[in-house]
């Protein structure tokens, strides 16, 4: 849910980010710049880790549309985080094909290893995790993805998940 009551810091978009917006908007016919909304929200999330209400307001201003047009989109699609997340969000496929090959056990293992429930953030701010619906990789399950690049990790085992988590911890230190 979008919680506009939470006090949220105003955000500024850097000139580099704005120029990426400009490139996206150039793909559509004159006056159809709203088509850029979904890709632009992905860029905002990649930059800030989530999509806050002030950021959405800025996007609306940039696209010359109403803030509600951004809110309704950000709340409809599941990829946009409407509250802060861990630096790395482990998104595990929880749909049929992956469950047949152990996705539920992988999620249990992640919950135990990270010590936080689905949707929560670890105290060090590094990780959160959640189950997501079919990621179109049913032959290589269980799978998980990590944004903002949405890198894929296939044929997961408890061991490969442990290694992934320790690699990410090491990466965050450097």
């Amino acid at each position: 849910m979008l919680r506009v009551d939470e006090a949220q810091e105003p955000v500024e978009f850097s000139p580099a980010l704005i120029s990426k917006f400009d490139e996206i908007v150039s793909r559509y016919p004159q006056g159809k710049q709203k088509s850029g909304l979904l890709p632009i929200l992905h860029l905002v999330q990649a930059e800030f880790g989530w999509v806050s209400a002030p950021a959405m307001d800025k996007v609306a201003e940039y696209l010359s549309i109403l803030p509600i047009e951004v809110y309704e989109v950000a709340t409809f699609y599941t990829m946009y985080f409407l509250r802060p997340q861990g630096k790395y969000v482990l998104e595990v496929c929880r749909t049929s094909g992956c469950c047949l090959v152990g996705a539920e056990k992988i999620m249990d293992h992640i919950e135990e290893t990270l010590g936080v429930k689905e949707g929560e953030v670890t105290p060090d701010g590094l990780f959160s995790w959640r189950g997501v619906e079919c990621l179109a990789a049913c032959g290589f399950g269980p799978v998980l993805q990590i944004g903002p690049e949405y890198t894929f990790y296939e044929n997961l085992t408890n061991e490969s998940v442990d290694k992934l988590i320790s690699d990410l911890k090491a990466k965050a230190k450097n």
């Binding site: 709203k34 989109v73 699609y77 599941t78 469950c99 047949l100 997501v132 619906e133 993805q145 949405y150």
Partner: protein
């Protein structure tokens, strides 16, 4: 070995680059189409090929193209549907990852045939790696003069863009996809008007699946008649099948339509049988939306004929004893799979993915999930099965888009074919939370298949 029209060169090192792809005969269809054929002639070849939409509906692609309105001075669009979200389906991701230029080649020929000068490839947002792959491939093709202004000196202009979605199954429905591409929520539109009349930005638009567009390449290279010789009956050509679940060799296979299902599951050329020496219990043959069938009915039709991987054979028997080829998302369930749990899993998926626009789907999917949850967790009642069938009947056919049907069919078919397993979950509630019903009689009269 069946013929490979799409994946023939998939294992060639560097096939994802323009130069290697070109050295294997890539982009020949662009030269042939733009230099020697009229747009009408291309549409005619696709019609002759008998190609049917590979996204799931199976509507003839050539016919869809011929419906496109062509008012003077109005832009026309081709939009490629790469939203691939149907559980069990992962063929488009595979194709775009390993042989992206095939899709781009198909997009150029198809856009030329339809008279589109701007085309979009809409990918589900989770496919960011594929967005990057395609954008790199587009830049390569553009640098070589196959995209942009005055392609190959023919005077034809085409700009091609990749658009990521935001994570919503419903955007695989073509009008929801167009809404999403316009920067809105993915709520399907009421049809008519169909996209061929009023699609993207209100302009005439064709929306085709990734695999359909890729198939245009061999159709133009070899001719529609040649393509139509492959396959069986009205199921012409080759089809990518993404096989997952409890199989020894899951993956993406290109088959000539008409391969027997038994051969597809058990032969070493394809899936190599059921993993871990288990036996087959059930199959979802065409993505989660199509009816689930027990092993005996997927291998043989009710008339005891071998069931084939084709549009007609898989739907033989209607929904009483048949299913659908759908998108080619093939999920195999072994003897340890719990049909109740799987049905609950699907119901949760559809509840999660319902856009909320039509009440029968929005409310019905939620109730089906709740009832299936209580059955799976030992609180079910004997009347629940009839209740589920009743709810599914009230969703089916009563919604703007087919998501309602897609949610209703797996539940109704699971109860139709596996009712005793559901009842066992009620009568043996505590047992059902810790053990599975097992194979029971579902696989009868299937012979035990020896596995190495």
């Amino acid at each position: 070995m069946g013929r490979k029209l799409l994946l023939e060169h998939i294992n060639v090192p560097g096939i994802n680059t323009f130069d290697v792809y070109r050295s294997k005969g890539g982009y020949a269809s662009v030269e042939k189409a733009l230099k020697t054929m009229s747009p009408e002639a291309i549409v005619e070849e696709v019609k002759k090929s008998g190609l049917r939409g590979r996204g799931g509906a199976g509507f003839p692609t050539g016919m869809k193209w011929s419906f496109l309105a062509k008012p003077e001075g109005v832009a026309r669009y081709l939009v490629c549907n790469g939203d691939e979200s149907e559980p069990g389906t992962f063929k488009d991701r595979y194709l775009m990852t390993y042989i992206p230029h095939l899709l781009i080649e198909g997009m150029i020929v198809s856009s030329f045939a339809l008279g589109a000068n701007t085309s979009y490839i809409y990918l589900r947002g989770e496919m960011m790696p594929q967005v990057r792959i395609l954008e790199r491939a587009i830049a390569e093709a553009k640098a070589k003069g196959f995209l942009g202004k005055n392609i190959l000196g023919t005077g034809y202009d085409l700009e091609l863009y990749v658009q990521p979605g935001g994570g919503a199954y419903i955007c695989g429905e073509e009008t929801a996809l167009l809404e999403s591409l316009e920067g809105k929520r993915g709520n399907p539109r009421i049809k008519p008007p169909f996209p061929a009349i009023a699609g993207l930005y209100g302009c005439p638009t064709v929306v085709n699946n990734v695999e359909s567009i890729a198939a245009v390449v061999p159709i133009i290279n070899e001719g529609g008649d040649e393509y139509a010789k492959i396959g069986i009956g009205r199921s012409t050509g080759t089809k990518l099948i993404s096989a997952g679940g409890n199989l020894k060799k899951p993956g993406v296979y290109e088959i000539e339509l008409g391969v027997p299902v038994e051969e597809f599951i058990y032969s070493d050329e394809y899936c190599g049988g059921i993993a871990n020496g288990k036996r087959l219990k059930a199959v979802v043959a065409g993505g989660s939306s199509v009816p689930i069938l027990p092993a005996n009915l997927i291998l043989k039709t009710i008339n005891n004929e071998a069931r084939l991987m084709s549009y007609e054979s898989l739907s033989d028997g209607g929904f009483v004893s048949g299913t659908m080829l759908g998108s080619g998302g093939f999920i195999a369930y072994d003897e340890d799979a719990c049909i109740v749990r799987n049905t609950w899993n699907f119901a949760r998926f559809y509840h999660h993915e319902s856009c909320g626009q039509c009440s029968p789907c929005r409310e019905g999917t939620g109730w089906m999930e709740k009832v299936l949850h209580r059955l799976e967790y030992g609180h079910g009642k004997m009347s629940d099965m009839d209740l589920l069938v009743d709810v599914s009947k009230k969703i089916e056919g009563n919604t703007i888009c087919p998501l309602g049907d897609a949610a209703a069919w797996p539940v109704a078919s699971a109860i139709r074919h596996f009712r005793d397993e559901f009842e066992w979950h009620v009568t043996n509630a505590s047992e059902a939370t810790s053990t599975n019903y097992g194979l029971a009689h579902y696989a009868d009269p299937l012979k035990v298949v020896e596995t190495a």
